[in-house]
């Protein structure tokens, strides 16, 4: 079954720039795909369409369901987006309240919501900080708590926007292990080709709002000279 099916996606910013210029994209159930591309090439803009934060022209299908106003709420439970800025994602005063935010919005009563939050925190190994304030967490811990907040909604698809930003190597390793253990289909928007090559079976290269190439991670790295040496 297809997890994500995008056809002919176009999006223009209010100031007139064409951020996406006809993008086709597929994600199969259980697959992990990396998105590469220069800053401003449209990768982040693209993923913001997958849960309806941005609305463009073309069609977006999530788990076989067409994305439109009436299906927005449902799609947002199926697509879990982990943002680049963890501080903007962890906006509640304590970890527990933040991770329980999603379940509470789903209409779950408080005891169930907190139970889901506790379970999600256990999944990411952050049960110890459940009552802490986000301010006191390290970058790696914030990233994992943000992931817990998303997992608590039990999505089918996980999208990560630059997940290894400001993570030191040990934290990066922890994140890799964590992601390997998660069964959901995944999209990784990243500059970190090493990270991508461990987790992703396929890579898509964005250029000027279009898909310029597709293949394995190594193929894309070679073809577009996407390494720092």
């Amino acid at each position: 079954m297809s997890a994500v099916k995008v056809r002919g996606l176009r999006y223009r910013y209010p100031d007139g720039t064409q951020a996406l210029d006809g993008v086709d994209f597929d994600l199969a159930d259980g697959e992990c795909v990396a998105l590469f591309g220069a800053n401003g090439s449209g990768k982040t803009t693209f993923v913001l369409h997958l849960n309806g934060l941005l609305e463009g022209e073309g069609s977006v299908e999530i788990c076989g369901q067409h994305l439109e106003r009436s299906t927005l709420a449902k799609v947002r439970t199926q697509v879990g987006l982990v943002f680049q800025e963890a501080d903007e994602q962890l906006f509640m005063p304590t970890v527990l309240e933040d991770v329980a935010f999603g379940p509470l919005n789903l209409g779950l009563p408080q005891p169930e919501a907190t139970a889901r939050a506790a379970k999600a925190l256990e999944q990411v190994g952050m049960s110890a900080v459940i009552h802490k304030a986000p301010y006191h967490l390290s970058a790696g811990e914030k990233r994992r708590v943000a992931l817990a907040g998303v997992l608590a909604m039990e999505p089918r698809i996980l999208v990560f926007d630059e997940p290894t930003t400001s993570l030191d190597p040990p934290a990066q390793r922890d994140l890799v292990r964590l992601l390997q253990a998660l069964p959901q289909s995944k999209i990784l928007v990243t500059h970190d080709t090493g990270f991508a090559s461990i987790l992703a079976t396929r890579a898509v290269f964005f250029e000027h709002g279009r898909v310029a190439g597709e293949g394995t991670v190594d193929e894309m790295v070679r073809r577009f000279h996407w390494s720092h040496v």
């Binding site: 709420a73 906006f91 005063p93 935010f101 919005n105």
Partner: protein, 227 residues
């Protein structure tokens, strides 16, 4: 930093830390009102003793606390001195003691109650939810933005600050803050936000809290009346 020290203290445990935020807030108000309505030197000694007992039960470092209290002094000292120089030394001393006692009492409250618990307590005490939420978000991002401003200050110091560039610095801070708020809103939507914040209430008022409130309030009132 001052507030970080106090925040650290607020997460310790002691019989006082364990009391419900509302009970402690209630006791504080009774005490502040009592202090404000008296000028008896004896009662000040009584309240000082009460506060010392509280500090002991809360297992707070006495000198550390007094160190924090010193920060309260500038404003208090100014008006105390003005009152003294106007030929009212008795009143000056009274005002000084009242302010110091009130300040230390408030300090003990925040040193034994995490701010988030305090805010939840306020909400259940009929402070309007939108206001509590604004305070909550303010507190959440207070230190994040302050760190940003700190960096900008250091950079400006290196470059040599001018009035005009300070205005630009404020604008940059504003821009980042506004964009951060946009990011927060997107993150809220992504996790199903539909217009309402739901709070996770974790406070329960036990018999111990009621007993605490009644006992201490009675002591405060007794001191007020007797001394």
């Amino acid at each position: 930093m001052h507030h970080l020290v106090i925040e650290g203290w607020s997460h310790r445990s002691s019989p006082l830390h364990a009391r419900d935020a509302r009970a402690k807030l209630g006791v504080l108000l009774v005490l502040l009102i009592a202090i404000s309505t008296t000028s008896s030197q004896l009662s000040f000694y009584g309240y000082a003793l009460l506060l010392a007992v509280a500090i002991g039960i809360a297992r707070l470092p006495l000198f550390g606390l007094l160190e924090r209290a010193v920060l309260l002094l500038p404003f208090i000292a100014t008006f105390t001195l003005i009152t003294w120089w106007s030929g009212q030394p008795v009143r000056a001393l009274a005002v000084f003691e009242k302010s110091l006692l009130s300040g230390i009492a408030a300090l003990i409250l925040v040193a034994t109650t995490p701010i988030t618990d305090l805010l939840h307590g306020l909400e259940s005490l009929a402070v309007p939810r939108p206001l509590v939420l604004v305070i909550q978000f303010l507190y959440r991002y207070l230190f994040v933005l302050s760190e940003q401003a700190q960096h900008m200050r250091m950079a400006a110091r290196a470059r040599g600050s001018r009035f005009h560039s300070a205005g630009s610095a404020v604008a940059v801070l504003f821009a980042r803050s506004w964009e951060r708020a946009d990011g927060i809103y997107q993150a809220m939507l992504a996790r199903g936000f539909a217009g309402r914040f739901y709070t996770v209430s974790a406070t329960h008022f036990h018999v111990a809290d009621a007993a605490f409130f009644c006992a201490v309030s009675a002591a405060v009132i007794a001191i007020r009346i007797a001394l």
